[in-house]
Symmetry: C2
Subunit: 136 residues, 2 copies
């Protein structure tokens, strides 16, 4: 397990879009932008699934994920393992949050599941000599 710093959490919350990368069991990568994202605690994030297609199939076959986010020349890549919750309190809260989000943007939205990511490692994404450096 690895812990996000305050600054990493601040940037994760600030960016409108992070990237969720998954892979098939035999290593074909997939990368999609995600906006419905939340920090649960410093070693756990939640991404709501409204439109996942290949991502969902990949997650079911292979729980390994990367979540990358950046702004300008500062960025971080989280490596972790995902589980999908489609019932229970955390899913119900996610469903409510996404429904309210849909109402706010004037376009109905429905969460199909809460993707819970346990953070295993964190790397720097910034360009330069420190690119790809393991931070946690």
């Amino acid at each position: 397990m690895a812990k996000m710093t305050e600054r990493m959490q601040e940037l994760f919350n600030k960016v409108p879009t992070a990237v969720l990368a998954t892979a098939t069991a035999d290593g074909a990568p997939n990368a999609v932008p995600v906006g419905a994202k939340k920090i649960i605690d410093d070693e756990t994030i939640l991404i709501s699934d409204q439109f996942f297609n290949k991502t969902l199939a990949n997650l079911k076959a292979n729980p390994k994920v990367a979540v990358s986010f950046w702004e300008g020349h500062e960025g971080y890549q989280i490596k972790g393992s995902a589980t999908i919750e489609t019932s229970g309190q955390r899913f119900e809260e996610t469903a409510k949050w996404i429904e309210e989000l849909g109402n706010k943007v004037g376009s109905p939205l429905k969460s199909k599941g809460a993707v819970i990511i346990q953070i295993d490692e964190i790397y720097a994404l910034a360009p330069g000599p420190g690119a790809g450096k393991k931070l946690a």
Copy 2:
């Protein structure tokens, strides 16, 4: 093989940053932003490697890649196979381009290689019912 439309090429050129996703041979994904990108033809793109670390190790072990790019609610994901060129005319041209880019931004840049991606498939990235739809 799949071909990019004019519009896909226009958007690929327009976005400042695309995402290059790779994976280890056993399916741990990795996603990084890339700015030094070019279209070679409608079924081939080039990304210059200045700072690749895990990406480069992944590409050597597993050539499968995804390249995602979007703006607002329009986006595309390319699936393809990568080869790395570190000599020859295409690499020399890339090295010159990146050196000039470094001069322009006032920070020395050096290409370590030209990652050539042959496009196999193209998918929609936009949210909504068409999310993840195969386009080519």
